[in-house]
């Protein structure tokens, strides 16, 4: 079986999340977390979130309307040029963040929810439930993620909802596995056993004792996965399986420009947008992971 980064996070972190809930927030104040790269990453993420939130006021033009001549290179009027239909690339880029960011969050949240429920059930109940759930997860993980997502999206037809659904289908097992391994160790802890022996019903035991103490690693994982979700969504729409045209979506914008690389600005700027946000999420995820797990940080900096 493949060893995933999620396993590493889960195994190494399981013991730290004991009764103390998520210590992430509490300990971020200490020096080691706020390294320059982390600050820059956070800055980039905040910037993109602001752009997305205020797109109608920030974007100079309507992203769907023809506002200039076709394929104008970057100029004073159009900072990032115009595309094949004379739409302003900068405006489309800014509005694109309104699709990519919320959708990435939705993908991760849905995957976390589905994977979380499956992982909890598998870890807490064990035996047959565990076997069935984990073999199902293995089945999904056996396919290359993007190929499976393409197949699912192509089968359902291109639309925003189907692209999200396809990506949830391919990414829930990551969370299921990570949560399962946390739960496996948490459920053996004395306080959980004690609670059960005091007559706590199963559901209350899960909600009160298990979830708070096993969610940490999955939340770290989801930060890293936010970047991945943006990338996969862009890949799907690059292939024409994402939001329907004329939606301003970064992957679709790159696809449009790739027909003729002479018009470099059509593809380059959305490419840079994806690069910055995905890298920011990855660096932030790494920083959080390093902070929570000094062993892996040492391994990296050594």
């Amino acid at each position: 079986m493949t060893i995933l980064p999620s396993d590493r996070v889960a195994v190494s972190r399981a013991s730290r999340f004991r009764r103390d809930r998520l210590r992430v927030g509490g300990s971020l104040g200490t020096g080691s977390f706020w390294r320059p790269l982390t600050v820059v990453s956070l800055g980039i993420i905040v910037l993109w979130c602001l752009l997305a939130a205020f797109a109608p006021w920030v974007a100079p033009y309507d992203p769907l309307e023809t506002v200039g001549d076709n394929l104008q290179p970057p100029s004073g009027a159009h900072w990032m040029g115009t595309d094949d239909l004379g739409r302003d690339v900068l405006s489309r880029l800014i509005w694109g963040s309104r699709l990519s960011l919320p959708l990435a969050v939705a993908i991760v949240a849905c995957s976390l929810l589905v994977g979380g429920i499956v992982g909890l059930a598998a870890g807490y109940f064990g035996k047959a439930v565990d076997n069935v759930a984990m073999r199902l997860a293995d089945l999904v993980l056996a396919f290359p993620q993007i190929i499976l997502a393409m197949a699912v999206a192509a089968a359902f037809g291109p639309s925003v909802g189907n692209a999200v659904l396809a990506l949830v289908i391919v990414s829930w097992p990551l969370y299921a596995r990570i949560i399962r391994s946390s739960v496996l160790s948490v459920r053996e802890q004395e306080y959980v056993v004690a609670g059960r022996m005091l007559g706590l019903p199963t559901l209350r035991s899960i909600v009160k004792d298990v979830i708070p103490n096993s969610a940490g690693p999955a939340l770290v994982m989801s930060t890293i996965e936010l970047g991945n979700a943006i990338l996969m969504l862009a890949a799907l729409s690059f292939l024409g399986l994402g939001p329907r045209p004329p939606a301003a979506e970064w992957g679709a914008m790159i696809a449009l420009g790739s027909q003729n690389l002479g018009n470099w600005w059509v593809s380059l700027f959305p490419g840079l947008a994806i690069l910055t946000i995905v890298m920011a999420f990855n660096l932030l995820g790494d920083a959080i992971q390093d902070h929570l797990d000094p062993r892996s940080r040492n391994a990296r900096t050594r």
Partner: protein, 530 residues
């Protein structure tokens, strides 16, 4: 200098022209094209160089240079047939028989004379091999009368016979040599023909070139046929090399001379330096078909909606998206072919008229789905085109939802006839505009997929379609196509949007590098140094 933009000449163009002419003068003094090599850059689509089975673009280019047909076209003109192996041809008064008289001086590359027997053997073989091109000659019978007369008969009058016989697939083989290699024209040729790939190593034609070497992944080399019966081609050697589209632009931009590129798209060609020549002819039409079945859509089957949507089309704007050589569509026949409407008839966008039509018909806040193949055709993303259609329709209050589909899914859904609006490119199989009537008349194949049955069609469309098929001569049919298109623009569920051009780009030292919609893209033997 670009032939296409010549009519838009501006002072800057005049300067470029002068420079180009100066450059040519220099070129002439240093070289003699006779012992030179012409390089052809194209993205290979080739399976075979056997005329009986050739169908793909690259194969057609080479076969047209290696073999001769009874009749042919010159340059980019596909409105007038020219003699090749046949010096004259005539149609019987009932329209069912065509008689071709062969010239007596044509010889194959081994010196043997070209006879009517060779032509009949080749055409029967094409028909019986059941390849992709065979379909166009089904229903035709070929017979030789003496050495120099070929008689083609069909059950129903077929004015398109000479047009079909100009296809590269209708090339004449040296039948004696071909038979030695195992070729046969028997009715079971599809299974009994034993020639295999032998025509990929040596050609058996009477064309200006003979095959030197063939590698379907890298290059095809042709050398001049020393026994060619006509005028020797200017270039003694032609190398057709496999270059992908993105690299063609780079290669042709850096070429010093004697080079042409065949697959650049209109937008790419528009960006080339003025030192290169661009030849293009608008030969592919793009159109919408609106489903006329009320069970599929109450909106698109409403004639008022069809008219309103037609009025929202911005032909000029769409043509601009296709780039160099593209034109707005006046009718369903692209301007490259005889029977096309004059450009003075190009429709004008009328948003107010469209709004009024919709309001009068009680159609408000209409929303329709447009399905299109998610592909790039001739370098243009079809999504860009339909987005423009969507933008324009929205200005008149029509909401169009775009639904891209992978090409195989699209073809499937199109044939099921359940889509509200389809969008697709349309090219003619052979350059006779009346062939459109076979597919697009009420109740014909394409029409049935859009629910346009004989019952639902306006009588005028049925009459106009019958008027075309009633004509027995090519001239008569082309004439009737004009009226047919007028009627189709009024009552058909087809909305022609724009025509896209095929393009040949050549270095400035060449003449005769003209794009042709006839099927062979460019006539290699006609290319010469200036």
């Amino acid at each position: 200098m670009r032939s296409l933009t010549a009519k838009l000449a501006v002072p800057a163009g005049a300067v470029a022209l002068t420079l180009a002419l100066a450059g040519c003068a220099g070129g002439n003094s240093t070289s003699n094209a006779g012992d030179q090599t012409l390089t052809v850059d194209t993205s290979f689509v080739v399976k075979t160089l056997d005329p009986g089975t050739v169908y793909e673009q690259t194969g057609n280019i080479a076969v047209h240079a290696l073999y001769d047909t009874l009749v042919t076209y010159e340059g980019s003109d596909v409105t007038t047939l020219q003699p090749e192996l046949a010096e004259s041809w005539e149609q019987s008064s009932d329209g069912t028989t065509w008689t071709f008289t062969l010239r007596d001086d044509a010889v194959f590359s081994d010196g043997a004379a070209v006879t009517a027997e060779d032509a009949v053997f080749s055409l029967n073989r094409l028909k019986n091999l059941q390849g992709s091109a065979s379909q166009t000659v089904q229903g035709l019978d070929f017979a030789a009368e003496g050495d120099d007369t070929v008689v083609v008969t069909s059950e129903t009058p077929n004015p398109d016979v000479p047009v079909i016989l100009a296809m590269p697939a209708a090339s004449v083989l040296n039948s004696a040599e071909a038979k030695k290699l195992g070729a046969t024209d028997a009715e079971d040729a599809a299974t009994s023909d034993q020639i295999g790939t032998q025509l990929d190593t040596a050609s058996l034609g009477s064309g200006p070139y003979v095959l030197k070497s063939y590698d379907p992944s890298t290059k095809i080399v042709l050398t001049a046929n020393p026994k060619y019966w006509g005028e020797q081609p200017a270039y003694s050697r032609v190398v057709i090399q496999n270059v992908d589209v993105q690299n063609q632009k780079l290669t042709i931009s850096k070429a010093k001379g004697d080079e042409i590129a065949l697959d650049l798209s209109g937008p790419q060609a528009a960006e080339l330096s003025d030192d290169l020549q661009v030849s293009g002819v608008a030969d592919t039409s793009y159109f919408l078909s609106l489903n006329q079945d009320p069970a599929v859509s109450a909106v698109t089957s409403n004639p008022a909606f069809v008219k309103a949507l037609r009025l929202t089309v911005d032909g000029e704007g769409l043509a601009k998206l296709f780039g160099e050589g593209a034109t707005p569509a006046a009718g369903l026949v692209p301007p490259a072919f005889a029977g096309a409407l004059d450009e003075s008839e190009n429709p004008v966008q009328d948003l107010d008229g469209a709004k009024k039509l919709l309001a009068d018909a009680g159609l408000s806040d209409v929303k329709v789905a447009l399905v299109y193949p998610a592909i790039t055709y001739r370098g243009v993303d079809l999504g860009t085109i339909v987005t423009k259609v969507q933008q324009d329709a929205k200005k008149a209050g029509i909401e169009i939802e775009l639904t891209p589909q992978p090409i195989n899914v699209f073809l499937q859904s199109q044939s099921e006839g359940k889509n509200e609006i389809n969008f697709s490119p349309n090219s003619l199989n052979y350059p006779a505009s009346s062939s459109l009537v076979n597919n697009m008349a009420p109740g014909a194949s394409t029409s049935l997929r859009t629910g346009w049955t004989l019952e639902r069609a306006d009588q005028s469309a049925i009459d106009a379609s019958n008027a075309v098929t009633a004509e027995l001569t090519p001239e008569g049919r082309n004439e009737a196509m004009i009226e047919w298109q007028h009627v189709m623009n009024e009552v058909s569920p087809y909305i022609a949007l724009a025509n896209n051009a095929g393009i040949v780009v050549a270095t400035s030292d060449l003449t005769g590098a003209d794009y042709t919609p006839a099927g062979w893209t460019v006539d290699l033997a006609a290319i010469a140094g200036k």
